[in-house]
């Protein structure tokens, strides 16, 4: 039982670490290259797909990280089904 919980926690830690690092990389790129990105994204037209794609990318990477974050610090959904 305890081993099972340990494995579950370890899985969360590994996923959180990977997604956390990826998220950090994404935000670092966003702010270090902000002038190029803003200039390109502001062109409009076909370039409109870029902010949409960026939003999807950040949501999956950073969203995945935040989900594991709350689990790791012990805040997770109530176990019983409503």
């Amino acid at each position: 039982m305890a081993e099972g919980i340990g494995k579950f926690k370890k899985k969360h830690y590994v996923k959180a670490a990977v997604l956390g690092v990826l998220s950090l990389v994404l935000y670092t790129v966003l702010f270090t290259k902000q002038h190029i990105l803003n200039e390109t994204f502001a062109k409009g037209g076909y370039y409109a797909l870029l902010p949409i794609a960026t939003a999807f990318l950040f949501s999956f990477v950073h969203g995945g990280f935040t989900g594991h974050f709350w689990d790791i610090i012990g805040i997770s959904a109530k176990k019983e089904k409503r």
Binding site: N38, F41, A42, G44, L49, P51, A55, S59, G67, I75
Partner: protein
């Protein structure tokens, strides 16, 4: 078009303070949205504008953070069995049409009556929608408190029972959240109204969630979760429309998203610890406070339109600042109620786990 281009090229310089401010506002907004399905975004546009971001860029950047946030929230709450995807998608499509119509209406008003006319229209929409819908929810909350039925299962309203009883051939669709078939001729106008409100005050959920609860008969938890699907559908289309004109400041969107993704996960977790009644409490509280905040701004816009005698500069400034402060207060109070409910729920569950463990230990010791 030149105006749009000018706004697009006018992206602000970001400082660490600005970034932290947006992250925190995003977190609180996300927390509220994760819990009641919407309601966290209305403060973000004025919050960005207070930093010097041009109006249209603020609206566009707000919208571009809303759809990915709603997506993550919807996925999370789907895992808890709270989302009706079919209802969300059907309402989402008609709300997208409402967004487009609402945005063009807004442009026409701005063209005819200028900024003050447009602002007055937004404030009146806020007051009317929040006044009418907020009063209905508040009345429901007070009734439950008075009859001490806050722990009981939600009852389907007489209106929803009637809607579910109407049979229009060729238009009937089964929705799991309602456990009934209703005509899409009812969902279409409600979705459209949700979209118009979203385009006007940035929170369509103030019509979407109550209409699913009171007009269609969905439970509060499912209505608030399904609203996230609607917000996603509306947000993608709206963001693309603004992005076509190059109006999205991706740095602002992603900063707010950074905070709001922490918030929305927490808000979604919170829904598993509370009674459905709490969704209505938070929604009614926020709506009534925001209503008061927007009421304060009406004299300012009326004086700018010269409908009433001009206000002194000091008074107008005071009303503007008070209105913004009350709006932030509404969000903070909503967040406080949610956090308190989550903490209470976590403590109760922890105590229950301890009791169960002790019981289990006694049972194994006795064998």
């Amino acid at each position: 078009m030149h105006d749009l281009a000018a706004q697009a090229s006018n992206f602000i310089d970001l400082t660490t303070t600005t970034a932290v401010y947006l992250f925190i506002v995003g977190f609180i907004g996300g927390l509220v949205s994760g819990f009641i399905g919407s309601g966290g975004a209305f403060v973000l546009t004025p919050a960005m504008m207070s930093l010097g971001v041009p109006g249209l860029v603020a609206v566009a950047s707000n919208m571009c953070h809303k759809f990915p946030k709603a997506l993550i929230g919807a996925i999370k709450r789907y895992r808890y069995g709270q989302v009706d995807i079919k209802l969300g998608l059907i309402m989402g499509v008609s709300s997208e049409a409402g967004v487009l119509y609402g945005a063009s209406l807004q442009e026409k008003i701005k063209h005819s009556f200028g900024d003050a006319g447009s602002n007055l229209y937004v404030s009146v929409a806020f007051v009317l929608a929040l006044g009418v819908v907020g009063s209905i929810i508040l009345k429901d909350v007070l009734k439950s408190l008075k009859n001490q039925t806050t722990n009981e299962e939600e009852k389907v309203t007489a209106l929803a029972r009637w809607v579910q009883s109407v049979h229009i051939p060729g238009t009937m669709v089964y929705f799991k959240s309602l456990n009934a078939r209703i005509s899409v001729l009812f969902t279409l106008p409600l979705g459209f109204a949700t979209g118009i409100l979203a385009a006007t005050i940035a929170v369509g959920g103030f019509i979407g969630v109550p209409s699913m609860m009171y007009v269609m008969g969905a439970p509060g938890l499912m209505a608030s979760a399904t609203e996230l699907v609607i917000a996603f559908v509306m947000g993608v289309g709206g963001s693309f429309k603004y992005a076509l004109h190059g109006l999205v400041d991706i740095r602002l969107s992603m900063l707010i998203l950074g905070g709001s993704l922490f918030g929305i996960q927490l808000g979604a977790i919170g829904t598993t610890y509370v009674k459905p009644f709490m969704i209505k409490v938070v929604m009614a509280t926020i709506m009534m406070i925001v209503l008061f905040s927007r009421l304060l701004m009406i004299p300012v816009y009326l004086s700018q339109l010269k409908v009433i005698s001009p206000l002194s500069e000091g008074l107008a400034k005071g009303l503007k600042s008070s209105s913004f402060a009350i709006m932030i207060l509404a969000l903070l109070i909503g967040a406080f109620i949610i956090l308190k409910a989550i903490i209470k729920g976590l403590i109760t569950e922890h105590q229950l786990n301890i009791k169960l463990a002790v019981k289990h230990q006694h049972a194994s010791g006795g064998q």
